[in-house]
């Protein structure tokens, strides 16, 4: 008897098929890994399972009955609980209140029985290894303990299915072990667990089965133990091991342009940030494209943002063109010649309401103005140059960027970066969510820019793009550099095997 079953479920958003007839089965007592890169459809699937989205096709069966959840509450009442990455509790309320919200024990007058509530909360949490004062504000607890509270709450409300979205992303190693202890308990109680994570070691330690999604489609489902690591990685990243590599699937020339003897334009030394980055170190020489490889959550975006001054660092050194960048902030980084293209174009890149012209000129306003007054002719010069060079298609420079296609939005963003005359270009998923034509254009532009002597750091979840676009690839896992691919090693096979190698347990 299956606990939760999804058959041929599809979900369509305007212009996107986020889920394309995906099927998936969860058995009672099973810990089922759900994996896939960004945009693979994992979160959409979870949202369909928990009533956030209604499927556009296919069937959902729960405990052998057809099920339909109109709201997350419906799903929760039926016994499907989700523990989100960002803990979904109320940080300002006490631990006990969070545990019992909506189901508080009441005395004979209908008043909440605080004493009983606190006592029961203490007892319950002790079973999860949390021995804190339950009258403390939840937000003052360590994230691991908060997650335990969320888990305890889910189990308390008779959950039969618990969905965990990246539960270990902010946990210390010993907290991870505590969590696994709890998961094994749940497993023994017959509760089904859907476990979303990119840490292969963890998956192999705790999960029974695995389902892999890519581009909204199911690519594999089965017992995890029967699947090799390298196979798992290749399925996630979309490269079949047997498939012969077609040369030139991307628009990259494939020729290295880096000058090996030149002094590095970017030197990164021992970047550390709690939980996320550990001693990340690498160099970029002028004209070189250095790829950052790794799975989601490996610390690629964090590294890029930290260099751009937009992510907190506990320690580390950054040098641009031999000059140290002290206390990096975005303002200082831009001045030093660092240009960052963030992963989330819409949230952190473009200003959708402003025109193409204003977006391109945004970072260089002081240079195109005199005494605080903007010179239109100077802006037009820059805008004209980059619109031509990047072949930005807009009805006019005055069109709002929010109305452009994804590819053109991305080009506008790149134009803004290039207008600052950077020495180093940090690109985080530069071709995500843009059409094929624009993709090729962006790729050849990256080549071209490196050819002109820029240092480029490239992050891409598309293994092919990363390998063909980079002269060297620095591979990250859990915030640690685990290998560097150079010369003939820069192949998808080498990339995947480096990602897949078992981490020797530290700590």
């Amino acid at each position: 008897m299956a606990l939760l079953e999804v058959a041929d479920v599809s979900k369509i958003f305007p212009g996107v098929r986020a889920l394309d007839s995906v099927s998936f089965t969860l058995q009672p007592g099973e810990v089922h890994a759900l994996v896939g890169e960004n945009g693979a459809g994992k979160s959409t699937l979870i949202k369909v399972l928990t009533g956030v989205y209604q499927p556009d096709g296919g069937e959902l069966r729960y405990q052998d009955q057809p099920a339909q959840f109109g709201t997350p509450m419906d799903a929760q009442r039926a016994g499907i609980s989700t523990i989100y990455q960002e803990v979904n509790l109320v940080p300002l309320m006490t631990v006990a209140q969070n545990l019992f919200l909506g189901r508080e024990p009441r005395n004979s007058f209908g008043m909440i029985d605080r004493g009983r509530m606190d006592r029961e909360a203490r007892e319950v949490l002790a079973g999860y290894g949390v021995t804190t004062d339950v009258r403390r504000q939840l937000g003052t607890l360590a994230l691991g303990a908060q997650q335990m509270v969320a888990l305890a709450r889910a189990v308390m409300i008779d959950a039969k299915v618990v969905i965990m979205d990246e539960p270990t992303s902010s946990l210390e190693p010993r907290e991870v072990q505590t969590l696994f202890g709890v998961i094994r308990d749940l497993h023994a109680k017959g509760i089904g667990i859907i476990y979303v994570s990119h840490r292969l070691d963890e998956l192999y330690e705790i999960c029974d089965a695995v389902t892999i999604l890519r581009d909204g489609k199911l690519v594999h489902t089965g017992k995890l133990a029967e699947l090799e690591r390298i196979k798992l990685v290749s399925l996630m990243l979309g490269r079949d091991m047997a498939e012969v590599r077609r040369e030139g699937a991307t628009a990259f020339s494939g020729e290295g342009t880096g000058d090996e003897s030149a002094a590095p334009v970017l030197r990164v030394r021992e970047l550390n940030s709690r939980h996320k980055l550990h001693d990340v170190t690498f160099d970029v020489r002028p004209g070189e494209v250095v790829g950052l490889g790794g799975l989601l959550g490996a610390g690629r975006s964090e590294t890029i943002k930290a260099i751009g001054g937009a992510y907190h660092l506990d320690s580390g050194e950054i040098e641009v063109d031999g000059k140290e960048l002290k206390k990096p902030t975005p303002v200082r980084a831009v001045k030093a010649g660092i240009a960052v293209q963030p992963e989330d174009r819409k949230a952190e890149g473009i200003v959708p309401g402003l025109s193409v012209r204003e977006n391109i000129a945004l970072a260089v306003l002081p240079r195109v103005s005199r005494g605080g007054f903007v010179s239109d002719s100077k802006i037009d010069e820059i805008v004209d140059r980059y619109m031509k060079r990047l072949r930005i298609k807009a009805s006019s420079p005055d069109q709002a960027v929010g109305d452009l296609s994804g590819g053109n939005q991305q080009k506008v963003l790149l134009a803004r970066l290039l207008a600052t005359d950077p020495k180093v270009l940090l690109l985080d998923e530069p071709t995500r969510g843009i059409d094929v034509g624009a993709k090729a254009e962006v790729q050849s532009l990256i080549d071209e820019l490196a050819g002109e002597g820029l240092g480029v750091v490239l992050v891409s979840s598309d293994a092919e793009e990363l390998v063909e676009g980079s002269d060297r690839v620095v591979v990250l896992r859990d915030g640690v550099v685990v290998g560097t691919l150079t010369g003939t090693e820069v192949t998808t096979e080498d990339l995947m095997s480096t990602i897949a190698t078992e981490a020797h347990r530290e700590h």
Binding site: P14, G15, V16, R17, A18, G39, A40, G41, D215, G216, G308, A310, P330, V331, A333, V334, K335, V340, P342, A347, E348, G349, I350, V351, P352, G353, L354, E358, A361, L362, A363, L365, P366, S369, G372, F373, V374, D403, L404, S405, G406, G407, Q409, R416, T420, R432, G433, I434, D435
Partner: protein, 322 residues
């Protein structure tokens, strides 16, 4: 997965109306009201009536300009009325040292208040409504304390010229307001400051990542808003020919926010409609004038204003895409 955004084409008429209404609704409403008044209101289309309306609306326009800038950064400034009161309180105290000195002191009061607001918002990180609430409460109190709660008549004719004089047959007050509209319009369109302001309101994380001096710009915006309010305050004193810190600019934050919102500037930031704001202020003035001319009580006017604010905000409200 391709997440190509297809530009949404408003196929339905209601969709087109929804896009059109916040932008141009205010102008249409003005035209309708003017036409109505020309036919049905006696003595409406006269020079003297227009003059009175313009003089009355001028201070609101000036305050609303600053408010529009603040709202453009996704903020709000509740303290503008108190700033007007402070400016009004300082004028009689320093008029003895000359008109210029008095005006400079009044403007400095604005700078100080704006700076405090700006620091609270940009550096401390308070919500704008909270940050400006403190000076909303305390600013007027301070103004009344400074003026010792007295109503002071102003007799300096040079100063009064600002409020009741004419230049080429048009009140000086109106000239000043018009000049400030041009200046603010110019600032928004043509200066580094203006462009940065819009970028910050439009997408603050992106503005930060692009290396813009976000905090400095935010502080500056609140300073500009408060300075405009203090100009409105001193002009009001010059017009009424007396300074009464307890009544100058009372509830003007409400009129200013209304003018900005009715004029089509979204409360969500990223856009500043300078001309729309002027039109918004004019429309509200026109509504009030029309109702008074037709012997409707001020109480009715207030209730109608309340409804107009709600409609304007409702129409302009951004759909939450979640």
């Amino acid at each position: 997965m391709s997440t190509e955004t297809v530009a949404t084409r408003p196929t339905l008429d209601t969709a087109r109306l929804k896009a059109w209404l916040p932008k141009y609704g205010v102008y249409a409403a003005i035209v309708l009201l003017v036409v109505y008044n020309i036919f049905f209101t006696p003595y409406f289309a006269t020079w003297s009536n227009l003059r009175i309306q313009l003089i009355q609306v001028a201070p609101i326009v000036i305050v609303a300009l600053g408010m529009a800038l603040v709202i453009g950064t996704e903020g709000i400034d509740l303290s503008v009325g108190s700033v007007m009161a402070l400016a009004a309180a300082f004028i009689p105290l320093y008029l003895g040292y000359g008109v210029v000195a008095a005006i400079i002191v009044a403007l400095l009061a604005g700078v100080a208040v704006g700076f405090i607001n700006g620091v609270l918002v940009a550096k401390v990180g308070l919500q704008p409504i909270v940050a400006t609430l403190a000076l909303f409460v305390g600013g007027r109190g301070l103004a009344v304390v400074i003026s010792e709660g007295k109503l002071v008549d102003i007799r300096n004719s040079d100063f009064l010229y600002l409020g009741s004089g004419d230049l080429l047959g048009i009140p000086v007050l109106v000239w000043i307001a018009a000049a400030l509209v041009l200046v603010v319009g110019f600032v928004v369109r043509r200066t580094v400051f203006g462009r940065r302001l819009l970028a910050i309101g439009g997408n603050r994380p992106a503005a930060e990542l692009a290396g813009l001096p976000v905090k400095r710009v935010l502080i500056m915006v609140y300073v500009v808003c408060a300075v405009l309010a203090s100009i409105a305050g001193l002009l009001s004193v010059a017009r009424i020919q007396s300074s009464d810190a307890s009544s100058v600019g009372l509830l003007i934050e409400l009129s200013a926010i209304t003018a900005v919102v009715v004029g089509g500037t979204p409360l969500t930031g990223g856009k500043v409609r300078v001309l729309g704001t002027v039109a918004g202020a004019m429309l509200m003035q026109l509504v009030i004038a029309t109702m008074i001319k037709h012997n409707l009580q001020p109480s009715t006017t207030e209730m109608v204003q309340a409804v107009i604010i709600l409609i304007a905000v409702y129409v302009a409200r951004e759909r939450k895409t979640r």
